[in-house]
Symmetry: D2
Subunit: 264 residues, 4 copies
Amino acid sequence: MSIERSDVSDWWRTEIIDMAPGIIRFRGHPIEDLIGSVSFPQMIWLMVRGDLPNAEEAALFECALVAAVDHGPQAPSIAASRMAVTCGLPLNSAMASAVNMLGDVHGGAGEQAVELYHMIDEAGGPSYAGEMIDRWQTERTPYVPGFGHRFHKPVDPRAPRLLSLVDEAQKKGVVSGRFAAIGRAIQTELNARKGKPVPMNIDGATAVIYAELGFAPPLARGLFCLSRSVGILAHAWEQMNQGGRNKGPTPPKYRWTYDGPDPI
Amino acid sequence: MSIERSDVSDWWRTEIIDMAPGIIRFRGHPIEDLIGSVSFPQMIWLMVRGDLPNAEEAALFECALVAAVDHGPQAPSIAASRMAVTCGLPLNSAMASAVNMLGDVHGGAGEQAVELYHMIDEAGGPSYAGEMIDRWQTERTPYVPGFGHRFHKPVDPRAPRLLSLVDEAQKKGVVSGRFAAIGRAIQTELNARKGKPVPMNIDGATAVIYAELGFAPPLARGLFCLSRSVGILAHAWEQMNQGGRNKGPTPPKYRWTYDGPDPI
Amino acid sequence: MSIERSDVSDWWRTEIIDMAPGIIRFRGHPIEDLIGSVSFPQMIWLMVRGDLPNAEEAALFECALVAAVDHGPQAPSIAASRMAVTCGLPLNSAMASAVNMLGDVHGGAGEQAVELYHMIDEAGGPSYAGEMIDRWQTERTPYVPGFGHRFHKPVDPRAPRLLSLVDEAQKKGVVSGRFAAIGRAIQTELNARKGKPVPMNIDGATAVIYAELGFAPPLARGLFCLSRSVGILAHAWEQMNQGGRNKGPTPPKYRWTYDGPDPI
Amino acid sequence: MSIERSDVSDWWRTEIIDMAPGIIRFRGHPIEDLIGSVSFPQMIWLMVRGDLPNAEEAALFECALVAAVDHGPQAPSIAASRMAVTCGLPLNSAMASAVNMLGDVHGGAGEQAVELYHMIDEAGGPSYAGEMIDRWQTERTPYVPGFGHRFHKPVDPRAPRLLSLVDEAQKKGVVSGRFAAIGRAIQTELNARKGKPVPMNIDGATAVIYAELGFAPPLARGLFCLSRSVGILAHAWEQMNQGGRNKGPTPPKYRWTYDGPDPI
């Protein structure tokens, strides 16, 4: 950047963006070359990773972004987004309160699933799925991330569609397909252990794609946040148009059950 | 949805998403039909508006999303995102703290610009730019939203590129071009008033696109939040890799100036 | 502060805190003199205003802080706090998502009530209540801030208790009592207009105290946020102990009503 | 509560608050009995724990709340709070963005310190400090929570003051003093290991108090958030009065250092 380098400017050093008056470059690319030339998913990839994906990598990446945008108002994040606008919050703040909720439990499963896939891959591949699931449950949590759904049984409709697109990409040589194989091995193992289908869910399926494309585990969470922000925005906007003031979680007449001392 | 309708389920009624076990539909479209078929910008449009844009509308929309992803660590939102991860926050929370900052001043200019454009359009078009600017400054704020930049002088490189893409879209009949004309009329008026270039900035330019495509003003803010979330994520992730603990705004040795009573 | 003054340190100038290694002073007071000597409400007052209140001012101030801590899980902020911890958020982030929700509608009524009281005071006092209510409804919103409650009818139990403490403080000369008179004048006017009791609510009652004590209107919101943070923390903590994962707003079996195209 | 119990109301069951029209009870206490009778710290205690502390417990608790309100604009949370208001955010949202930042690194040290103290206590007391520090560093992180300060050397002025108040409370039989002994044992151990003073910091000192008073570890973080919210509010308000728009982390002329490809 066309200013003098100093300890103050070094404090905020970055490889992402360079600027001079009238010039903006992302990862070395002038902004005017990117606008109209790269897709939004390509731009996301460029920003977080530094290089541009080819069209086929970008297409697979885009599928993951499209798949995870929303899961309805019973998701705490979506409910929070809708309540927030009835409290008078503008869209940015409604989105903030909601994205914040994509924590370890709600939004962290994708990150954890990529970690688990990496563990299995580093152990030697799909045949180590059972062993690594055991290790995960011992060292991390009893929840196997990316599998099981309390509502979509026996199948989460997003998972087979995403996996079939990974398969197509594999045939074209876009990805290796080894994380799809790992995901399927976990599926088989869990089905056998439970004696019933334990569906791969949206986190497990997008984690296959993110792992295939070489994203680091925490980015699975970050990219999920980008994707889910779409649904969060859509619901906030719908609620803004529906109106309402201080919308609580249930119709007011239900209130809540008080279980403490000296009830009224 | 395949549950009984009740006052409780009605409390969270929505037109966005429908579900049954194994089935997810957005705006009536099964998720498996959308994945791999629609682009991420088309999915965003579908979610917030209910219909699917055609390919040319989606392409113009995509340009606005690509253009606004980042403006560097001096933007308070980006700085907040970077500081947040050094405080131990995961990416979802870093993004939340940062997106929250896209308030009336930082992220609201696009929304306000669409409002101003609508005012001029409803008044009769570009020739009313001066009159409506006066009204805006009297009734709203002295800041004309979408114009002027403290750094990019005399031109913000994003604006002419975006406007040229609107012009192309107009030639193809994708958009009417009347909001581009309004934006340019404001530009001409402000240049004349100030006696120097007052560059249309990213908010002013993306507002032209959002207005041309028929997005309501608050969505200009919401969509800016989606777009800027990309830069917020990229910077959070870069900072996570750089490391650091409790990164303050300046190198520690500078501290701050104390101007209160009884200085040490 | 014992560092050289520079443009960098001036950028973060403040009158609140001064530091040197081993020394911390707030508003000129060494921290070790404050700890154990001033109450938490006195410390709050010192930090936001710069001076220390006397014991009686602090006592009245404390009543407002105590009164507003919680209004139960149907308040969107409290619901958000509880849902947040089930998404895996630590207490700081649960509090953030929740405090964020104390926006213009949910948490801004106190700020607006102080503004309305000031309008009436500047107009000449209680006898101008009706005229200023009209002006408020014309210029601002139809909602008269600080009055009316959808649940506590005919009386919000917090208001009469707080007003009686203002009366006591007035008798002792701690406050003038003119904002209590204004609040009561609004009450009388609204009751007459509606033909039924329109109870002064927590925002209206704490606004009387904040106005009597000379707090600027936005601080009524800020102090409400401090107070309500207590309930937000208590509910987050209780929920953390109750457990739960991804707690939605209603029991899962109710889901939501879908009102869009092509229902399942 | 005077409504029918149902699965919907049970979904939000709580022991904290009970309501009926005109009646609000916290932990069984009518709100009008609490207002004017209990201090704000007592109210905080009642809300999060369910019982009321006696006056001496409340006094010691109050010292911890007073001590941690602020550490100046170089703290990321405080900087975020100040930047937020210049982005147009109201105080609630500025507080939210800032409190969110009190994560594992910035705000979690108190929680971790209480955990470490408990480990030592359960191992047998102060003489196990060294052994448990080793275990902490092996199993958790190399950072010993609550000790060391990059600025306050050799002493953080808050720690000795707080410890002396714990000692006084111990003499009166208010607390056992065993966590103060543990804190001092860690201090001695770390000084010996490093060959120089490793000052007990604010997190270490307030953790002693929270542990002495029986607060669970996560509440040390939650209570720190309440306390630091005071400084966050004070700085947000001061910045609001100073003005500024889109305040970045450094004076604009410094910008940032770009270290990526193809610099301008």
